[in-house]
Structures are given as C-alpha cells and as structure tokens.
Subunit: 229 residues, 4 copies
Amino acid sequence: MSSSSERRTALPRRRDEAKALFRNAILDAAEHVFAQQGFHGARIQDIADHARIAVGTVYNHFEQKEDVLHALLEVRLEEMIGNLRPQPTDPEPFEQKLRCCILRTLRFAEEHRDFHQVALDCGLFAKGTASASNILKEKAVAHFEKLRATTLALVNEGLKCGALRPMDPVPLARMLGGLIRSSSIGMLMEQSHPDLEAEASLLVDLYLNGAGRADRPGRPRDESDLGER
Amino acid sequence: MSSSSERRTALPRRRDEAKALFRNAILDAAEHVFAQQGFHGARIQDIADHARIAVGTVYNHFEQKEDVLHALLEVRLEEMIGNLRPQPTDPEPFEQKLRCCILRTLRFAEEHRDFHQVALDCGLFAKGTASASNILKEKAVAHFEKLRATTLALVNEGLKCGALRPMDPVPLARMLGGLIRSSSIGMLMEQSHPDLEAEASLLVDLYLNGAGRADRPGRPRDESDLGER
Amino acid sequence: MSSSSERRTALPRRRDEAKALFRNAILDAAEHVFAQQGFHGARIQDIADHARIAVGTVYNHFEQKEDVLHALLEVRLEEMIGNLRPQPTDPEPFEQKLRCCILRTLRFAEEHRDFHQVALDCGLFAKGTASASNILKEKAVAHFEKLRATTLALVNEGLKCGALRPMDPVPLARMLGGLIRSSSIGMLMEQSHPDLEAEASLLVDLYLNGAGRADRPGRPRDESDLGER
Amino acid sequence: MSSSSERRTALPRRRDEAKALFRNAILDAAEHVFAQQGFHGARIQDIADHARIAVGTVYNHFEQKEDVLHALLEVRLEEMIGNLRPQPTDPEPFEQKLRCCILRTLRFAEEHRDFHQVALDCGLFAKGTASASNILKEKAVAHFEKLRATTLALVNEGLKCGALRPMDPVPLARMLGGLIRSSSIGMLMEQSHPDLEAEASLLVDLYLNGAGRADRPGRPRDESDLGER
DNA sequence: CATGAATGAGCTTTCATTCAT
DNA sequence: AATGAATGAAAGCTCATTCAT
C-alpha cells in the first residue's frame, strides 16, 4: 500500500521544499536588486537573473512585482521586530535590556544592509510616505504599525520600571526610533563596520541622558534633583 | 535713451520674470505631484496638467524629469537649511537658540508637508539610499551634505559654548537630525497640526536631557558629577 | 486681432485634419492586418508598421487594441448598412428595389473584402459568438442589432407592398441575411470577381421563388393557388 | 494461453480504453472552454482544469493546442455531416428527405451548441476566414470542403429527381447552407428551444418556394408555368 | 517660446510548451 | 503515463523625450 500513500505525502513534501527554496531565492534576489536599484528601477528580469531562474518562475510564486516587495518586507520586518523586542534572556535593569535590544537591532541592520536600504526606500520607517503608500498601500501601514507598536511597548516597559521620565510615551518612542534609525542610516552611509557594542552603548547613553552637559547652568532637571536631596 | 535701448534691458527683464513664473509654477506642481505619487509614479503630463501648461513647456525649462526633482530639492532645501541655521536675532543661551532653530524647522516642515514627503521619498535625509542615489546620483549626496554640515555647525556651536557634552560631534549631530526627522515624520503621519512651540520645547528637552528619569539609580553622569565636586 | 483668433480656429483645424488622417490610416491598416491575421494574431506593431507610424501613436488615438477593432467595425458597418438600406433613387417594384440593395451590398463586400473577413472573424454576423462577445462585448450586440434591424425593415417593406408571403418577418429577414452572407462568403472564398449584377439577380430570384422546381408535383403553394381559381 | 499471453492483448486494450477516456475528456472540456472563451482566449490550463487533469496530460495526447481544436472539429464535424447526409431510412419524396436531413442537423446544432459556437468562431462555415486559416491552416479547408461536398451531394440528388430547379448546383448548395446556418445561429442567439420540427418545415418551405408571394404580379416562373399548361 | 501629438525603447505580465519527478 | 512547476518568447501598453507648428 505504501507507494501510493507515500507519494501523497513524500511528493508534496519535496514539492513544498522546492517551492520554499525558490521563494526564498526570489526574495533574496529581490532584497539585493531592490537595494541596488530601488523598487521602480528593479526589473523582474533583474531579480530572476540574480536568482538564476526564469522570469515566469517569479510569477509562479508571486502574482505581481509588488507582492515580491511586500513578502520581502513582511519576512524581514518580522525578524527585525523580533530583534527589537526584549528577550527572556535579556538582563534586567532596563538600561541593560534596552542596550541589548538596540545592539541586536543594529546587528540586524548591519547584516541586512540591503533590507534596510529597501525599507528606507519604501518609506517603511515613515508611514504615509508617497512611494510607500503607492506601492504598498494599506499593507505598508500595517508593517509600520507593527514596528511602532514594538517600540512603544519597549518604552512603556521603561516607564513602568521607572527608568524613563514619566511622560507621554509616544514622543519617547518616536525619539528612540529616530535614534536607532539615525544610527542605522549612518552605518549604511559610512559603509564602515563600526564597533556595534560601543555604538549601542552610546545610543543608550544619549537616549537616557541626552546630549546636554550634565552640569551646565540652568539645567532644568538639576533643580529638581536639588529638591530631592 | 531711445525706446530701443530701454527695450534691450526691459524686455529681458520681463522675459526673466515670465521665465521664473513658469519655472516656479512647474516646481510647485512637481512638489505636489511628487508628494502624491512619488517620483516614479509622477508623469511629466501630471506635472504639466497641475501647472496648467503643456508637457513641452516643462522641457523648455528643464532638460529631464530628474532635473525638476533636483531643482525642487535644491530650492526647498536651501530654505530648510536657512531655517535650521541660527539667525542673528536668535536669543543667546544655546538652549534657546536651539529651540528657535528647531521651531523654525518644524514650522517649515508643517508648511511644506509636500516637500517633506518628497524629501523622504527621495531618501534626501538618508544619503546613499537606493532610489535617491539612482535618481539624484552625486547631487543627492551634495544635498545631504549641506544639511548635515548645517546640523554639525549647530552642534559644534553648542559644544563650544559648553552647552553640549564634550564628545564626538558626529553622533551628536546625527542624534539631533534623527530627533527632528522623527518629529517631522510624526507630524506628516498624524495629519494633525500640533502646538509647534511645545513640540520644539519637548525636542530640546529630550535632546539635552534625554529620556531617562533624572533621579534614577546608577545614572552614569551622576557619578561623573560626583567626581567634579 | 487676427493672429490669435486665427490660431484658435486655424490651428485646431489643421490639428483635427491631421488627427483624422492618422485615425483613418490606423483603421485602414487595421482592416488589412486584422483580415490577414485575425484580431488575436494581429500585433499593434503590425498595424503601426502598415500605417507607417509608431506604436505609441496608435495609443494616442485608441485606448486599447479592442477599441481599434470596434471603431473599424463601427465605421464600416455604418457604410454597409447604408448600402443595404433602400435609397430614394431605387426603382419601385419591391423586387427591383431588393435587387438594388443586394447589388450595393455585394459591391461593398467585393470592395471591402478585408472588412468582410474581419466581420466574419469577429462573428459580427452572428451575435453572441465566442470571440465576438469576448472582444467586443455588448458593443458587438449593438453592431449586430443595427444590421438585423435594417434587414428586418427591408423585409417589412416587402410584406407591406405584398411582395412577400404574409408570415413572421423574422425568419424572412434571417433567410435574406443568410443568402447575402452565403454569397459574400462565397466571393471571399473563390477569390474571384464574378458578375455581381447576375449574382444579385440570382439571389433575388432564389429568395423570392425558392430553389424548388415550379411545376414539381405536390408543391404546397400550388394548392393554395387552386383555391384561388 | 498463459496469463502472460492474455496480458499482451488484454493490457493494450485497457490502455487504449484509458487513452480514449482521457482523449474524450479533453475534447469535451475543450468544446466547452473554446465555446466560452474562443480559441485564443482559452488556455490549456482552463481545458485541463475542466477535464480535471494536469496540463502535461493534455500534451501527452495532443502535440499542440491547435491539434486539440482540430481533433474536436474533426470528430464533431463528422457527426454533423452524418446528420446532414440522407439516411437509408429517410422517406423518399425529396422534400421529405430534405426535411429529415435539416431536422437532424438542427437537432445536432441544438444539442451541440458549444460545438456550433466553436465552429462559427473558427470560421468553419466560411473557408478562408482569417483566424480559421491561421489556426487551422489547410486542415480548415479540408473540414469545410467535406461539409460543402455533403451539401452539394444533397442538392444534386434534388436536381436528379427533379425537385430542384435545373441550374448550377453551387448556388443552390450555397443557399441551402446559408439557410441552415442562419437558422442555427438564430437558435444560438435566442438561447431559446424552438419547435425544431416546425423550424425544419419552415426552412424547407422557404428553400423550395422562396419568400415571395406566390400570386404576386409579374412573377417570372408563373409565366413559365403558363407556358407549360 | 508654448504647444501637444509622434515616437519607440522598455517594462510587466501571460501562457504554450517542456521536463524532472 | 500523469503531474505541475519551470521556462522564456512574445505582446500590450506606458511614458520620457522630441519636434513640427
């Protein structure tokens, strides 16, 4: 009885493997080509060439060019959000935990420069941007919201444990996102491979303590510090 | 001083006025259309329609589509940089001056949402981004550098007068840029018209003092403060 | 006042002339290419080549490939219907009038073999046929209906003047259409140039008197003749 | 007489059965899909889906898409010609025999609306039509010729027995074909299920006696009738 | 100099056919 | 022999750019 029943499961299994293989190859190729040429500049032919497959094959896995982009962003963004989100193994003081999250995110950016390039190009980090909303439409917003929600959750945790100033979490999250983004973009631009640990520490320091000189005159929070002594 | 000699100067003057009129109309239309549809999604026809002129007329003023974008960015960026740069009338303590610069920049972003949309779309705020480098090429870098230099100058002034922590100005500038950008994007996204004065104050506060609670335990700069006593 | 006011009328006039020139050139080319290769086999490039214009120009005059076909059928069918419809100058006895209408229609078919080919290919003479309904959709039905109505009007005239057997005009019209169509198709097939006058006379004779031998035994209408004696 | 020798004959028999099963399933599916979407609009995938088999299987039975159409037309046309051809059991007076042939043909058209649709679409009834000649090439002509020959044979029989007017059989055959075709098309169009017996009688009547009123003045054959008295 | 139609290279997408399983 | 994914040539359509008026 085996052969037929085996076929029913073994063949599809192989097929599914092959399917996933092609799909990933296409997404990897797309990541690279989109990063180099932008979404509009990238031709399906280029992606197919990079994946060493035929144009038609791309269309066997994705209905439209846009769907390739969408799938790519979805997959990578999930990974990125996973990195930004606190892990069970992260150390407890919020400052350390934040440092770990940022470090992981920077490492991800370092390892996935192409994706970051694409994400920027698509305005993934800026909901409502023109080409983003035109290419990705509502889906773009969903992508962005996920990232924002994750950042917000991180900030809220900091507020709860008293590590952050008690204030509206939205600007706090916005600031955190801005800092990470600036740093990531800086890395992309410099094409350098900096000391990510140091960079993460610097980011946390700047985020928590600000850019101002601690003992500068008229520092508002010094006054409140005095009051507490 | 015959009428003919007058004509020699008067006529060109009129022509120049007319020329500038068309050029500005094209740039205004382009700002709107690019913001709505993205650079690649915008057709010359669309821009011409918005400016209520013929396509050919666009090509009488700009060699290529890209040149329209370039000119637009150049004009608006100059204005934006002018706003970010400290003015003679700005109040002296660095904190106040910074607040003024940021406020002007946010106001500009508010008034030129379309330009901001375009600038984001073109990765103007992120040198080396795909579509930016493909569309604008070297010129994009020049645009970006100008903005970066202005931010850097502002930070250096803060360092000189002792308002900022003595450290590498590059990350300080990057952080400042990231904050302003985050806030601008936030405004674009929310489609709301917030209290810009309050927003500027908040930004300065966060930039100088950080997001951390001042009296939290183990605050690093408290230690350095101790050392100075 | 002249030049500007002239321009407003003179320029558009020239433009309209040119426009009609191109449009007709496209339709003529399409008639030929569609006839040779069928609608699906004809590429826009082929039509453009035949009209000695660029592909894009075709699209400046017609939104889609289908619209070219539609316009072609509309124009030619109007002409064809004009030929089938009785003219004021046609002689009065219905038989003679019918002969004239058929002769004109056969002449039109002879002179516009290409159109006939296309019309057949599109099932223009058979409402609801597959490719017709797929390519032309509702418009195909409209085309067909016009033709049918014209044939019906002709038959009704014959009924009114007592030249045709008093019966349901629909089968009478159907028969007339079938005869003309068969003859036209025969001409297309034979690639010959027959004596159209003779062909028209033959058609009228067959249509009015039938294919049966007049004096054959058991002829039903002879019986009715008997009753009248 | 071992089981092995049996197999040698039994197995191929089964195989042939299975083969015919698939072949017929494909042709049935093709008949439906071609009728719905036209030859060019029908994808092999559609046909395979309808036959609930895989695309590859179609190509195991037919070399090309066109061959499917060709085989379909061949099979159905043979059947159609068989219906049009007089049967041994048909009653003898030519008029009755003709009535039977037409009735069978109309019944076939009624039962095989899809095939008729396809045949029309392919210009099967009009040799030399564009898409027909492009799709079916010479084979189309062969199909058409068979049908024409059958019609011609029928007409010749009528001539021989004196039921038809002594004249060139080609126009007579053409007229007969045109009448049957008009009626079939009419049925396809109306989507109605008329009384086929009445329709057949009407056709024979019109074919033999024409559409003209028998006692109208100046009827040419009346004169010849007079002469024979 | 404004105009707007002509141009044609280039792109996305389709689908008949092939072929490894 | 059935399967269905891979293939890639081919076609419709777009739109930046040109140019005659």
